[in-house]
């Protein structure tokens, strides 16, 4: 290589190029007026941060403060701490959520072909995300500030401290999240099956995070009584940053800590910078450009009886197709995590509703609500997955004499089969918690099972109208939101009709609560599905 050429390559900051590209990718929907988009949204956010939010919190925080005059400062301190703890976790999780959904293998390959190094890509991708994380800070930091301002009347210096800490925390969390996700993606979970497990794991981590949030709320008193408990968490990075803020507000707030202000500042500055430097220098350790190797996996004869049973259940015409759907569905471990999520959340509701109702009418009410919730959760968690990874397969169905119907019906039947297991599990839980008899259990099971495919009609119909071929497609989000909106009336209906008609007998109660919901969903669902399949048949 000519020396002149080489120096030119070295002079160019490739990570900067990559960072810019990353920003472009993330703002592609505003590609025609990107500059205006940034200026406009930053203006709005600054308006929110420095004018609207302070006014808003000023209006109601003082009254709350007056009511709880004595303990207010420690409470605010704890709120700030837990808020930042959770923020740190959320931001850290964000890159993890995207690990297995990058469909950029081809792009990565052309990057490898260029003189770019692993460290450039890592740093570039990290920096490219920062402007969007800055949005996040400008949205959330005013809430923290708003909680403090009315009581303490923050000085300009305190403002600066708080915002600096918030930015520091968010960027640092993002850095750690990017590190872990790169490491997972490039070094650990290389085979397809490992990636599957990784996806399932991340799904479970998300659930754990939600549990942590609740834990903070539940244990808030405990921690207020014994502030030294927090010392157990002094390694947790968000505490370094929140300590600085607390010290800025009132140095006394830090008294019960091992970490004094100098340690906190030292850790908050040195650790992130050190990690950033090291990760840039040692990027090859956790980031490889080799791409993902797919080990070939053989299918086993396992579960043969199971599948032949389904074949019989689904009938001659659809048996084979349903089995294909079933295999596809169950071979993705992330889907198993989703089923677990459905079982967990509906199971929790089964415990919750049956423990609050004591008479027979209450029982009917709780089981009706459970049926509706079961349909809602499974339709949102599972029904929307119909077109995942079928972008090219759609053509295969279209080409065949069965057409798109083959896909839609076999998926629906597959959901019915999976619904059997979900219904069975929930019925057992419900019977145990509510101590119902066999007849009631059978009725509950049949209604629960019937409602799953019925409620899925609309989610599948929505997907046909606007298919999402990847789990992280924007269509997926919008479809799920529409789906939830459509299901809103379904949740309200049982209680509404119960109050409105006030039926006397148990049978009438069941009919009044469930018949309108079933009819509503069948109507809306079939209409959506009908229009959706028409549209999908015309896809080009």
């Amino acid at each position: 290589m000519e020396p002149e050429y080489e120096s030119q390559v070295n002079k160019r900051k490739l990570w900067l190029t990559i960072a810019k590209n990353e920003i472009k990718l993330r703002t592609s929907s505003f590609r025609n007026n990107r500059k205006r988009f940034f200026i406009f949204s930053y203006l709005i956010l600054i308006l929110w941060a420095f004018i609207i939010a302070p006014l808003l919190f000023d209006s109601f925080m003082p009254t709350i403060a007056a009511q709880n005059a004595g303990i207010f400062k420690p409470v605010v301190a704890l709120l700030i701490e837990s808020f930042m703890m959770i923020l740190f976790l959320i931001i850290l999780m964000l890159p993890l959520n995207n690990v297995y959904n990058k469909d950029e293998k081809g792009v990565k390959e052309s990057l490898v072909a260029s003189p770019v190094l692993a460290r450039d890509i890592f740093l570039g991708e990290f920096l490219g995300k920062l402007p969007l994380y800055t949005f996040a800070v400008l949205i959330f930091a005013p809430i923290v500030v708003g909680m403090i301002n009315p009581i303490i009347d923050l000085t300009v210096i305190q403002y600066i401290i708080i915002y600096t800490c918030a930015f520091g925390l968010v960027y640092f969390a993002n850095l750690i999240g990017s590190l872990i996700s790169s490491w997972l993606e490039h070094k650990i979970l290389k085979s397809e099956s490992a990636r599957d497990w990784g996806k399932a794991l991340i799904m479970i981590l998300t659930i754990v995070m939600v549990i942590m949030m609740y834990a903070v709320i539940f244990f808030i008193n405990e921690i207020l009584m014994n502030p030294e408990l927090k010392n157990w968490l002094s390694f947790y990075p968000s505490l370094w940053f929140s300590n600085i803020i607390l010290y800025g507000i009132d140095p006394l707030l830090l008294n019960s800590y091992i970490l004094n202000i100098w340690f906190s500042i030292g850790l908050a500055i040195c650790i992130p910078l050190m990690i950033l430097y090291l990760s840039y220098k040692k990027a090859h350790v956790f980031y490889s450009l080799e791409g993902i190797s797919t080990k070939s996996t053989s299918v086993t004869k396992q579960g043969r009886n199971f599948y032949s049973m389904i074949n019989k259940l689904a009938g001659r015409k659809f048996g084979g197709l349903v089995i294909v759907q079933m295999k596809l569905f169950l071979r993705k471990k992330a889907n198993l995590a989703r089923i677990a999520y459905v079982l967990g959340s509906v199971g929790f509701m089964a415990w919750f509703t049956s423990s609050t109702m004591d008479d027979y009418k209450g029982l009917i009410l709780s089981s009706s609500i459970l049926i509706v919730l079961g349909g809602l959760v499974s339709s949102i968690m599972l029904g929307h997955l119909i077109f995942i990874n079928t972008k090219d397969i759609i053509w295969v169905y279209k080409k065949s004499p069965r057409g798109i119907k083959g896909l839609v019906y076999s998926y629906l039947l597959n959901m019915l089969v999976i619904g059997i297991f979900i219904s069975l599990f929930i019925t057992i839980l419900h019977s145990l918690f509510a101590k119902i008899g066999l007849l009631d259990a059978v009725i509950f099971f049949s209604l629960f099972l019937a409602y799953i495919p019925i409620s899925m009609l609309q989610s599948i119909g929505l997907q046909c109208l606007n298919p999402a071929f990847g789990e992280k497609d924007s269509n997926m989000k919008s479809n799920s939101i529409i789906s939830m909106l459509i299901m809103q009336p379904a949740i309200m209906m049982p209680i509404f009709f119960l109050i409105f008609f006030n039926p006397e007998t148990v049978l009438m109660m069941r009919i009044v609560m469930l018949a309108p919901v079933f009819i509503f969903n069948i109507l809306v669902g079939t209409i959506l599905l009908y229009i959706g399949m028409k549209k999908l048949n015309k896809i080009e």
Binding site: M1, E2, Y5, Q8, E192, T294, K295, S296, T297, S298, V299, G320, L321, V324, K327, L328, R331, K332, N389, T390, K391, D392, I393, I394, W395, V396, Y397, K398, K399, S400, P401, R402, G406, K538, E540
Partner: protein
Amino acid sequence: MESYAIRTHELTKSFGSILAVNKLNLKIPYGKTYGLLGPNGAGKTTTIRMLNGIISSNSGEIYITDKDIKSHEKYVKMISGFLPESPGLYQKLSAREFLIFIGELYYLPKSVIISRVEELLELFGLSERANDLLEGYSRGMKQKVCLCAALIQDPQIIYLDEPTSNLDPAIARMVKDLIKELVVRADKTIFICTHQLDVAQELCDQIGIINNGILKIEGSPTEIIENTGAKNLEDAYLKVMGVSKMEDLLSWRENGEFNKKVVTSGKGKVKKRKRVVV
């Protein structure tokens, strides 16, 4: 009226403002191999998709074995096999499972599917890895699976979109021989889209060259070469397309910024390209 395997009349298709296929008239007799050639974006894939009933046309008619595709959609889909341009596969199925699934899509009886699948897997040398998930297959292997899928219902008309582009030379040879066999022994009608002129010349009884959705010229390979006064099919193709001189194509190198900076790495590559005299 004479009977044709495939006949189109003023077939037109546009995507928004893009006219992909423009008043195409085709007449393909039974038992012949037809090759549709043309540059990228010429409308080949669009044509093939319309002939298969996968997408609908804006205007014009299609008759497959003299049956109007609009009123005989199911029949047309049953008698035609299609190898798509990009392999549409379920990554989480094994090759065997996938082919059985395709058989199910075509309403074949179970016993027929099983024997047919084994036959095809054997033929394409996939038997050994037939139980591996398709996600671990190489591109060429996926192509082979798709070829098997196109043949599974023993279709009368076979559409192949870039059939040999990702295959190794030995398999490409085999596929070419297979196509010949299918025509000679089983009397199939075959419709091929390709960029590979040697494939077209070897296999096709008739060739059409399409550009911007318009059929430019049609005939047997020798007819086309004679009519254009060219030396070979490649020459004829370039003439029909009106490709400008190589010197024109390279003129950008003389006055570009590029010249001054990254000369050494670029030069060798460009020179290696085949020189074409028009």
